[in-house]
């Protein structure tokens, strides 16, 4: 990784600008292949950006110092030049080259992020439902459900299928990778993967109303065996979720962590609920989400 080291050298001054009070956290601390791909792309771009900054700042400083008005040049009459075709071609061409150098890896990465980082391991699927103001995680294969925390096996790609039963939220676990929106009546897919066991903070990155700032969740990455163990434990010990309890959870407000030994997908999948999916009005409990959001907390400024 010679190139990576060269890039790191370029990037160092950028990071030291704030005198080292920035710890390596979140985006700067990638803990999985997805986040690392994005980190590399970011650092690749930072190199070019620093180059541009250095060029512009240098010219700026030199011109300001050399061509300022001073007593010695009182009689100096600046020339009336219209431009310089050669120079203008140069400073059009260089940005084009830089944009090209950024566009190619961007497009590559943008496509790559839609696929699991590894094909050797079978991905697991977790449905994520954002509600005011909590995150609900459903494991369709394991048939368990958690609220405000999620366990994943390390080294395995995780397909998060995102939806919302209210305002738009954004599902973001910076150390594992970039975000995607969770929207009502929609299903978006975000693939993340953790390198090794650990705990990673996740939060909503899109404003969704009063208590949005509290929409945090923990991602717990475990080894495959620990993860299996946890799943079995949940299956044996956690209570069953029923529709009544689920309606309560959806009510606007904050809830703590919860664990259930079945999923709400049994009776409703919010991603398929809206009528622009083929006007399916026969959906069970269609009004449920409406009931859940009757309360308002608007008390004026």
């Amino acid at each position: 990784m010679k190139r990576a080291r060269w890039r790191a050298v370029l990037v160092l001054p950028f990071l030291f600008l704030l005198g080292g009070c920035v710890e390596r956290t979140a985006v700067l601390n990638p803990q999985g292949p997805v986040a690392r791909m994005q980190y590399d792309l970011i650092m690749w771009s930072v190199g070019f950006m620093l180059f541009i900054i250095v060029v512009v700042f240098t010219l700026f400083a030199v011109f300001l110092i050399r061509y300022r008005e001073k007593p010695e040049n009182a009689g100096y009459e600046p020339p009336d030049e219209e431009g310089n075709t050669l120079l203008e071609v140069v400073w059009t061409a260089i940005p084009i080259l830089i944009v090209a150098a950024l566009a190619v890896p961007t497009v590559k990465a943008t496509f790559a992020l839609e696929k699991p980082p590894t094909e050797k391991v079978k991905p697991i699927t977790i449905h994520v439902t954002a509600a005011n103001w909590k995150w609900i995680f459903s494991y369709p294969e394991e048939n368990i459900e958690t609220v405000n925390y999620v366990h994943i096996p390390a080294g395995v790609p995780v397909k998060f299928k995102l939806t919302s039963v209210g305002p738009m939220n954004s599902f973001w676990v910076p150390e594992l990778g970039g975000q995607k929106y969770a929207m009502d009546g929609m299903e978006t897919e975000l693939i993340l993967q953790a390198d090794k066991p650990g705990s990673y903070m996740g939060r909503s990155a899109n404003f969704s109303g009063e208590k949005f700032a509290h929409m945090e969740f923990e991602v717990v990455a475990q080894t495959g065996t620990d993860f299996r163990k946890w799943v079995n434990e949940v299956k044996q010990t956690a209570p069953k979720l029923d529709e009544k309890k689920y309606t309560q959870i959806l009510k606007p407000g904050i809830v703590g962590r919860m664990t259930f030994s079945n999923t709400h997908l049994e009776w409703i999948d919010h991603a398929k609920q809206n009528s622009h999916h083929g006007n399916d009005h026969s959906m069970k409990n269609e009004n449920q989400s409406d009931e859940a959001m009757t309360e308002s907390h608007h008390h004026g400024e």
Binding site: L18, C21, V22, E23, T25, A26, V27, L28, L41, I42, S45, V46, M49, I52, V56, F57, L59, F60, F63, L64, Y67, R68, E69, N73, E77, P78, E81, E82, G83, N84, L87, E88, W91, T92, P95, V99, V107, T110, L113, G166, P167, M168, W172, G178, Q179, K180, Y181, M183, D184, N206, F207, K211, A213, N274, S275, D290, S296, H298, G300, E301
Partner: protein
């Protein structure tokens, strides 16, 4: 509706604001009555169709709104200084960031730019007024009453609280019950109509009313940017009009365009909003580029380097601005092909923008640079805007954007482009054209204090935010927990914000100080200017030019000074000047818009209908009006010219 719902209650800050508002109104009424100024106010200002006075009123409103939006910003910074602060509660914070964003973009940046273009563009092209002076007055008053309607929300009924982007379904009835987002929909609609009319007005003015000899490629760069901005307004604002109309229907009449239920599509709002919203940011940045071009060229004492490339760049930027809107929601899951396409178009904007930066730099080269306050703002723009620009390119890279989106990295980026671009330009333009507006120069010493305080404060405030974003802090959080490591940078940011606030106070003091003691500009050309506005007296007589100037090249006034020693008018060349009449109708029609809007906000439809009837009445009266303006006789012109040129 109960009174306790009509007036916002329960917050000491709000009660203090109530008291301040009442006292200010009483004070204004008292002063106007005591000094017998009501008639003056009506005749000279409320009914005026003079582009210069309208411009001044725009700028006064913009400075007031800068104060309002700035106070919002300081409240937010106070709340975020330390973790788990209890200064503002979540709801209050949400309202404040919503009004901060909306006010700063639509009621501060827009009117500041439009105010400057009102004052300057007709002068720069050697015209006596805009093409449609009556419409211009209506534009201003619609903006004014739209802004007023939006601003009263925080004491009457409650402010909007869904962000300046008002994303659905959050902004819909399903989640926002109060009248706050009704205010958003109706107030923006009213002022938006005014902006659209301004766009049409100035497009026609620039295309049809240029002085003889001023071909398109001899237009001053500021006028060029306004021309292109008008095109952007004409194409972009109708989208906002439609989006806001649909939002109004959703909120008032329970239609289902953007709702969750019954086939509504919230993504449609996001698309419509940004199809307007992205060109909108260029509507406020292109004129800023124009201002910097004028100021840099004047104070470097040189013709603008690469004029043709500059024109080409703004046309290119304007075109690209319509095909990048998806970059505001790469994270919506549109798929890699769509995101890649919009990534590339977005990055492409860096190319013409880069060309402009280098052209400004090379205008400085071989110049004789005078560091006036206006020039300091324009020079500071270059490095600060470059930081905003390169981080914009980073945000444009879709795959990486998933990590920046909605984080403080984004907040830092757009404040770096909007403040270092638009706000610096507004300050540069204000200092540069201030003598043209009021006949005296803003004090340079105080001006430089403002500049350094504000510019350093700006960097201290927003630079750390790039890192807060990379550390995982997202926008619109009203608080954060301890132990995330975000506290030190947040403290730094707040210090910077306070410095910016102090800079603003010095600016306001400077306006007062310079009015009393400032150097009077007797020449009409205090900066050794290059364009035609400097050929007029400071402030110009209301007809601007006694005879229409003839343009021989770019930098028309510079050429006149070189060739003929200035712009000379022979008294025998004078002819009677045709000028438009004042009218009170734009004012009271806009009041009717305000009344109708207020009725809609509270769903008091009877009131809304009364307001609407008065609007229609105004339209009918205008249609049958037979007023072709009036002529100023030659003797009167001679008298006014001698009075205006007394000092020269």
């Amino acid at each position: 509706m109960k009174w306790s719902e009509f007036f916002v209650t329960g917050e000491p800050l709000i009660y203090a604001a109530d008291v301040a508002i009442v006292l200010t109104m009483v004070g204004i009424v008292f002063v106007l009555t005591y000094f017998k100024k009501w008639k003056w106010l009506w005749n000279e200002w409320l009914t005026t169709v003079d582009h210069k006075k309208i411009g001044v009123m725009y700028i006064i409103c913009a400075v007031l709104m800068l104060f309002r939006g700035g106070v919002d910003a300081l409240l937010m910074r106070a709340q975020l200084t330390a973790p788990n602060m209890k200064f503002l509660d979540a709801q209050h914070y949400n309202e404040i960031f919503t009004t901060h964003g909306t006010i700063m973009i639509l009621f501060m940046a827009m009117p500041f730019i439009i105010g400057l273009m009102n004052i300057v563009v007709p002068l720069q092209i050697g015209a006596r007024d805009v093409a449609f002076p009556y419409l211009n007055a209506l534009s201003f008053w619609l903006f004014f009453f739209g802004a007023l309607l939006f601003n009263i929300s925080f004491v009457i009924g409650g402010s909007p609280d869904a962000g300046w982007t008002a994303y659905f379904p959050l902004a819909g009835n399903e989640f926002s019950h109060g009248v706050g987002n009704n205010y958003y929909a109706v107030a923006l609609q009213i002022s938006g109509i005014g902006t659209l009319m301004t766009g049409i007005n100035f497009l026609v003015t620039i295309l049809k009313m240029r002085a003889p000899g001023m071909t398109l490629m001899r237009m001053p760069m500021f006028t060029w940017t306004i021309l292109i901005t008008c095109v952007l307004i004409i194409f972009a604002f109708p989208v906002l009009t439609v989006a806001l109309a649909l939002m109004t229907f959703d909120r008032l009449f329970d239609t289902q365009f953007f709702t969750m239920a019954n086939g509504g599509m919230s993504m449609l709002w996001a698309n419509l909003f940004w199809i307007w919203g992205h060109p909108e940011v260029y509507i406020v940045i292109l004129p800023a580029f124009g201002i910097f071009s004028e100021v840099v060229s004047t104070f470097a004492g040189k013709r603008l380097f690469g004029y043709k490339a500059m024109v080409g760049s703004i046309v290119g930027i304007a075109f690209l601005s319509f095909i990048v809107w998806v970059h505001h929601f790469f994270t919506m899951g549109a798929g890699p092909a769509v995101n890649s396409a919009f990534s590339i178009t977005t990055m492409a904007i860096a190319i013409p923008t880069g060309v402009k930066i280098f052209n400004w730099l090379f205008t400085l080269r071989k110049g004789k640079i005078r560091f006036t306050t206006a020039m300091l703002w324009s020079l500071a723009f270059i490095p600060n805007f470059v930081i905003g620009g390169v981080t914009g390119v980073m945000l444009a890279m879709a795959a990486a954007d998933y990590q920046y989106h909605n984080s403080y990295f984004l907040i830092a980026h757009f404040h770096y482009v909007l403040i270092a671009g638009t706000v610096f330009a507004c300050f540069a333009g204000l200092h540069y054209w201030y003598p043209k507006m009021f006949g005296h120069i803003l004090n340079e010493r105080l001006g430089k204090w403002t500049f350094w305080l504000f510019m350093i404060g700006f960097n201290i405030c927003f630079f750390p935010m790039y890192f807060l974003g990379l550390m995982g802090m997202t926008r619109r959080m009203y608080t954060y927990s301890d132990g995330l490591g975000w506290t030190p940078l947040n403290v730094v940011a707040t210090v910077g914000a306070v410095l910016m606030g102090i800079g603003f106070i010095v600016l306001c003091y400077n306006i007062y100080y310079s009015a009393r003691y400032g150097e009077r500009d007797m020449t009409g050309d205090p900066w050794n200017g290059r364009t035609l506005e400097w050929a007029t007296a400071s402030p110009p007589v209301h007809y601007n030019f006694p005879v229409t100037p003839v343009v021989e090249d770019l930098d028309a006034y510079w050429v006149m000074k070189k060739k003929y020693g200035g712009f000379h008018v022979k008294e025998e060349d004078l002819k009677p000047i045709h000028m438009p009449s004042n009218s009170g109708r734009p004012f009271w029609m806009s009041v009717a818009f305000f009344v109708a809007g207020f009725g809609l906000v509270f769903k008091w439809f009877a009131l809304a209908i009364v307001g609407a009837l008065f609007i229609v009445l105004g339209l009918i009266l205008r249609s049958f009006e037979d007023d072709d303006g009036y002529y100023i006789p030659v003797d009167e012109i001679k008298r006014m010219e001698r009075a205006a040129r007394k000092g020269a």
